[in-house]
Amino acid sequence: MNFSFSDDQVLLKNSVRSALDEQCKPAHVRAMFDDTRGYGEALWSEMAKLGWLGLPFPEEHGGAGLGLVELGLVLEEMGRAAYPGPFFATVVLGGLGILLGGDAAQKDKWLSAISAGKARATAALLEEHLDWDPASTSATAEKSGTGWTLSGLKRFVPWAHVADVVLVPARSPEGLSLFLVDPKSAGVTLSPMVGIDLTNRWSEMRLDKVAISADAILGQPGSAGALLDSLLRRAAVMSSAEMLGAARRCLDMSVEYVKVREQFGQPVGSFQAIRHRCAEMLLEAENSHAAVYYAAWALTAGAEDAAVAASICKAYVSEAARKVCGDAIQVHGGIGFTWEYDLHLYMKRAKALEPLFGDVQFHRELIVRHVTSAR
C-alpha cells in the first residue's frame, strides 16, 4: 500500500510544470482567446516531442504505455496553467476511446498519429437534452450498403473544429454503436458554441445523412454501451484532475495575495476570516487530490471499486473546485473580479468542466445505485 508518487511520476510532474510555466504563460493563454484555431501549434509539436500526446498509449503505437495516474499528473498541470488546446479532447476522449474499443488497424492508424502530434481527435458524447447516460443517445445510424449513414444533433463537442476524427455514438439497428467520423465529411455542420471558459472550444455538430464506411466503427455494432461507460469514467476522472489543478492555482494565488495585501494596517491573511477560508480551501484541494489519484489508480489497476471511485471523484472534485475557485475570488476582493487579473482563467476552466462528463447529481445517483445494490 503506497499512496505516493514514484520518483518517475514526480519527475514527470515537474517537467510538465516547468514546460508549461515556460510555454503556457497567462499571456499565451490570453493570446489564444482570439486565435481562430484556439491553440498554438508550436506547443502542440513540443508536447509530441516530450511524449505527452502518447502518454497512455502502447509503445507499439508510439506511446509511453503509462497509466491514468501519470495522465492525471499531466492534466492537473494543464488545469493549473489553463492550457488552451485540444489535449484532453485528443488524448482522453478520442485516444482512450480508440484504445478501449479500436481494432489493431484503427489503433495503429490513430494512436500513432496522435502520439506523433499529427492528428487531433475528440468525442461527441452529449446531445440536446444533456443526458450523460450513453443509453439516452438518439442519433441514428442506418445501414447503407456495407456501411452506415449517421444523422443527429450533438452539442458541446470539444475542439471538433480542429479534429481529424470524432467519436460519435449513434443507434444502429443492432443497438448503441460508436463511429469514427471525419468532421469534414459531407453532411457534417459544425457551429461554434462559446462559453465563459475561452481556453476551451466547443461545437454543435449536426449530422445529416453522413456516410460512414464499414471499417469506421469501434467494436461490434450494438456493443458500445460498456465502452462508452468506460470512456465516460475516464473522462470524469481526468477532467477532475484538470479541475484540481485549476483549484490549486487559485489557492496558491490567494495565499500569495493575502500575505501582501494590507488593510487596516496589516496583511489581510492575518485575519481569521481570511485565514480560515484559506484553510478550508486547502482541505478541499487535498481531499480532491486523494479522490483524483485514488480513482486514477483504481481505473488503471482495474480495482473492484473503480467505477464508483470514478463517480465519487467527479462528484467530490466538481463541488470542491467550485468552492476553492469561488473563495479565491472572495479573498482577493475587487481585483479578483477584473478581467486583467488572471484568477478568472482558472476559475472558469474549473467551472466549465463541472457539468461535463456527468455533473455532481448524475454521479451521486450512480454512487447510490452502487452502494444500495452492493450491500
Binding site: 500500500m1 503506497n2 499512496f3 505516493s4 508518487f5 514514484s6 511520476q9 495516474v69 495565499v255 493575502v258 500575505k259 496589516q266 496583511p267 491573511g269 492575518s270 485575519f271 481569521q272 481570511i274 485565514r275 480560515h276 484559506c278 484553510a279 478550508e280 486547502l282 482541505l283 487535498e286 481531499n287 486523494a290 479522490a291 489519484y293 485514488y294 489508480w297 483504481a298 489497476a301 480495482a303 464508483v308 471511485a309 465519487i312 462528484a315 467530490y316 447529481q361 454521479h363 451521486r364 445517483e365 450512480l366 454512487i367 447510490v368 452502494v371 444500495t372 450491500r375
Partner: protein, 404 residues
C-alpha cells in the same frame, strides 16, 4: 503508487481476524472485565504495538496498528482501556521521561495496571491552553498543586494524571508552564464526573487542593511544559485511521437499511431522489476520508510525521462527522432521537467510551464534541493557515508588547 495491500498485510489482517473470532468476549460489563480484555489484547501483541520493544511495546509498523484497530471495529470489539496512557502519556514518557520514570510507569500503562488521564484544559484555558492557572509550588522535597482542570477524559477511573501547571508567573505565559506526573489517588485530588449533553459522563472535572507531586515526577525541566505538550498533541499516529472509516461505513449501511423501511408520501425514502442525493454525498465523503487515511498511513509507513497536516485530517473527519450525523437524524426522523425503546431496525450498536450501548441520538450529540476537543476546528484552521500555508500571525492582545 499502489493502493493494494501487501501480501504481508493481508496475511496479518487474516491472523488478527482469526484471533478476534476466537477471543472476542461476549460482553464487557465493568472495568475489571475491560481490564482483562485489555490484557488479553496486550498479551496477543495487539496493544502498545507502536511502542519501542525495550519498553514492552511491539515495535510494529503503523499499518499493522491500523489493521488491528480496523479489525476490532469490524468485529465490533470492545475498546481496551487506558487509551490516554497508551496514546499520549506513554509516548510522552518515552521521549521526555527520566530512566527512573520509564522503569516505574511504562509497563504498568501497557498492562493497564495503572490507568491514566490528561490534566490539561481548565475552565478559562480551553483553546487558549497556555492561559492555564493551576499552580505547582516548590515545597522543598515536593510540589504543592492547586487549581481546577476540566474535560478530563477518563478522570473517574484514572490512577495517574499527566499534569500541566504553572510554576512561574513572572515570564510569558507559554514559558511558565511545567509538566508533572500526578498521583490521582490522594486526598488533595477531587474528581467529579461532568455530565454532558449526551447525558453520559465521559469527562470529569478535577479539583486539586494542596495536592502533592513528588520531585521525581517532574517531567523535563521547569518551564518546558508547553513544549512537551506540543509534542504530546502530535502523537496521533494514525492508528485509528482505518477503524474510523469502518465505523462510518457500518453506520452508513444501517442508515441505508432504515431508508429502505421508512416511507414518505407512500414511497420508501430510499426511492426519494433528494434522499438519494444526500446519501450519495455522504458516501463520497466517507470514501474520500478512506483515501486520505491511506495517504496518512503512507506517510507514517515511511517514518514521516504528518505534523501540521494532522490538523487537516482532524478538521476533515470531525466536520464530516457532524454532516453525517445530521443526515442520519434527518432520515431517521423521531426514531433518530430515541435513547430508549427504538425498534431493532432503527437502533445503532456502538461502543461508547464509557461502555454504554450507543444510539443514533448519542452518536449525533457526540459528533458535536469532535469539532471542539483536541483543538477546535477554529484552532485547526489557525494551525493550517500559519504552519502549512505560511499566512501571517494575527495581532493578539496577549502578544502585544512582544512578550509571548
Amino acid at each position: 503508487m499502489d493502493l493494494n495491500y501487501t501480501p504481508e498485510d493481508v496475511a496479518f489482517r487474516k491472523q488478527v481476524r482469526t484471533w478476534l473470532e476466537q477471543n472476542l468476549p461476549k460482553e464487557v460489563r465493568n472495568l475489571e472485565e475491560r481490564r482483562a480484555w485489555h490484557r488479553k489484547l496486550y498479551d496477543a501483541g495487539y496493544l502498545g504495538m507502536g511502542w519501542p520493544k525495550e519498553y514492552g511495546g511491539g515495535g510494529a509498523r503503523p499499518m499493522e496498528q491500523a489493521i488491528v484497530a480496523d479489525e476490532m471495529a469490524k468485529a465490533n470489539a470492545p475498546a481496551p482501556t487506558n487509551s490516554l496512557g497508551l496514546g499520549i502519556v506513554g509516548p510522552t514518557i518515552v521521549v521526555h521521561g527520566t530512566d527512573a520514570q520509564k522503569t516505574r510507569y511504562l509497563r504498568k500503562i501497557l498492562a493497564a495496571e495503572e490507568l491514566w488521564c490528561q490534566l490539561y484544559s481548565e475552565p478559562n484555558a480551553g483553546s487558549d491552553l497556555a492561559a492555564l492557572k493551576t499552580s505547582a509550588v516548590d515545597a522543598g522535597d515536593h510540589f504543592v498543586v492547586n487549581g481546577q482542570k476540566i474535560w478530563t477524559s477518563g478522570g473517574a477511573i484514572a490512577d495517574w494524571g499527566l499534569l500541566l501547571a504553572r510554576t512561574d508567573t513572572k515570564v510569558a505565559k507559554h514559558k511558565g508552564i511545567s509538566c508533572f506526573l500526578m498521583n490521582m489517588r490522594q486526598s488533595g485530588v477531587d474528581v467529579r464526573p461532568l455530565k454532558q449533553i449526551t447525558g453520559s459522563s465521559e469527562f470529569c472535572e478535577v479539583f486539586m487542593t494542596n495536592a502533592r507531586v513528588e520531585k521525581s515526577d517532574q517531567m523535563g525541566k521547569l518551564g518546558e511544559g508547553w513544549a512537551i505538550a506540543q509534542t504530546t498533541l502530535g502523537y496521533e499516529r494514525g492508528g485509528r485511521a482505518l477503524a474510523r472509516i469502518t465505523n462510518y461505513s457500518s453506520q452508513f449501511t444501517r442508515l441505508v437499511e432504515a431508508a429502505k423501511r421508512l416511507r414518505r408520501h407512500g414511497r420508501p425514502l430510499i426511492e426519494d431522489p433528494v434522499v438519494r442525493q444526500k446519501l450519495g454525498r455522504i458516501w463520497s465523503e466517507i470514501e474520500v476520508e478512506r483515501y486520505q487515511a491511506l495517504r496518512t498511513l503512507t506517510f507514517l509507513e515511511r517514518g514521516e510525521h504528518p505534523g501540521a497536516a494532522g490538523s487537516l485530517t482532524k478538521l476533515s473527519y470531525s466536520e464530516f462527522e457532524k454532516r453525517f450525523m445530521e443526515l442520519a437524524l434527518e432520515i431517521l426522523g423521531p426514531y433518530g432521537q430515541l435513547t430508549q425503546g427504538a425498534p431493532e431496525d432503527f437502533k445503532l450498536q456502538i461502543d461508547t467510551a464509557v461502555g454504554d450501548n450507543g444510539s443514533w441520538a448519542y452518536a449525533y450529540l457526540w459528533s458535536r464534541a469532535g469539532t471542539i476537543y483536541a483543538g477546535s476546528s477554529e484552532i485547526q484552521k489557525n494551525v493550517i493557515g500559519e504552519r502549512i500555508l505560511g499566512l501571517p500571525k494575527e495581532t493578539r492582545a496577549d502578544r502585544v508588547g512582544g512578550k509571548a
